[in-house]
């Protein structure tokens, strides 16, 4: 086990929303544009790294019976921090993401990594794991956001990139588009994975 493998496994082999199919709610909800996906991903990464570190440091002191409750309190504290910071400095993004910022608390990825990894491993490994998983999550959200934004509106990060006569598939930025786009993306990832 090396730090590098713990870090990189989150980027492709176990990339959270696609491989483990965990924490789908924000994945579907905020990816109407690449920028929103990126913001949500970074907020989740911050919470993931912080909660992984604290859980790892406290893993010898938390009694086994109440560990889930303890993890949730730790995670919730960091989520409140993110919420307040975003409200103060990134108000526009805060408005767009809305209810999904407090909902990072119940994102299965964060609790899942605390339970499955950080509660059993030392601090450096837990930070590497949290960072890798978080960045994998961010990349996935940004990718899905870009695809939906590109085909749904013809823009990427708010910049018009498609040719002038391009008819956008409007439904991709609406509710059903999220499910369909993610379904196809997962299918294509399986195809690429099968060829290796």
């Amino acid at each position: 086990m090396s730090l590098a493998t713990e870090f990189t496994k989150g980027l492709w082999k176990e990339v959270p929303p696609f491989r483990l199919v965990l924490g789908l709610c924000p994945v579907l909800a905020v990816t109407t544009a690449a920028e929103n996906g990126l913001g949500m991903g970074l907020a989740t990464t911050f919470v993931l790294v912080c909660s992984n570190s604290l859980v790892s440091l406290l893993r010898k002191f938390i009694p086994n019976k109440v560990r889930i409750a303890a993890f949730i309190v730790i995670i919730a504290s960091f989520v409140v921090m993110v919420e307040l910071v975003m409200q103060a400095y990134f108000f526009k993004l805060y408005e767009v993401l809305g209810i999904f910022i407090p909902l990072i608390v119940v994102n299965c990825i964060v609790l899942g990594r605390a339970e499955a990894f950080a509660s059993k491993n030392t601090l450096p490994f837990s930070v590497a794991d949290g960072l890798g998983m978080g960045l994998g999550f961010t990349a996935s959200l940004t990718l899905l956001g870009s695809v939906r934004e590109l085909l749904g509106t013809g823009h990427v990060f708010g910049v018009h990139v498609m040719w002038a006569s391009f008819e956008p598939f409007g439904f991709l930025v609406k509710a059903p588009g999220a499910f369909v786009a993610l379904g196809f993306l997962l299918g294509f990832m399986n195809l690429i994975g099968a060829k290796r």
């Binding site: 949730i72 504290s77 407090p102 509710a175 379904g183």
Partner: protein, 192 residues
């Protein structure tokens, strides 16, 4: 009365919590492989979501607001929901064992169902009063159960079909959910 009816239609069909608001998708995709589990999960969520909606509303109104602790909302709500799920579990085990056995594993899982926390937060953000909170929570939960059961029915059929290897399971499940969501989009004109 009319506004409550409108709220119910809007929460069940137009702004369906699963298909339009994207809350609670983990159980939606996780336990929808068979009809039985979908019905069990739907019942458990309906029950907990309604009770949690009311209790968190009271916590916000009588505990957090008077003491100026609104910034602690996320932590307070998740603790309330976790405690509530535990209480409901113990209560059902003692007094309604039949229902407890029917819900089984689904009860503890509900703590991390974001639909519960999501509806609790929406109730506060929309500034609902007590009765509206009750109606909205119950209607959202019914919308959740309806979508879950419909989706499970679709997936039971899909399981019997031959599909492309790469799209088996989750990818096809998601595309199916997309089609279901598209059908629900047809209700959009009902309520402004």
């Amino acid at each position: 009365m009319g506004e409550y009816l409108l709220l119910v239609v809007s929460a069940v069909f137009v702004n369906n919590i699963l298909l339009a608001r994207y809350l609670g998708n983990c159980p939606f995709l996780g336990v929808s492989k068979s009809m039985d589990t979908a019905v069990g999960m739907g019942m458990a969520v309906t029950f907990v979501l309604t009770v949690a909606g009311l209790v968190t509303w009271m916590v916000q109104r009588y505990l957090l607001d008077p003491f100026g602790l609104a910034y602690l909302r996320t932590i307070a709500f998740i603790l309330v929901i976790a405690a509530l799920v535990q209480l409901v579990e113990m209560f059902l085990q003692k007094s309604v064992p039949a229902l407890y056995r029917a819900l089984g594993i689904f009860l503890p899982l509900i703590t991390t169902n974001c639909a519960v926390l999501g509806v609790a937060i929406i109730n506060i953000k929309e500034d609902f009063d007590f009765v509206t909170t009750l109606v909205f929570s119950l209607a959202s939960a019914i919308g959740f159960a309806l979508a879950l059961v419909l989706f499970a029915g679709l997936r039971e059929r899909f399981a019997l079909m031959k599909t492309a290897k790469a799209f088996e399971g989750m990818p096809l499940g998601l595309i199916t959910a997309g089609l279901l969501s598209m059908a629900f989009l047809g209700f959009a004109g009902l309520v402004k």
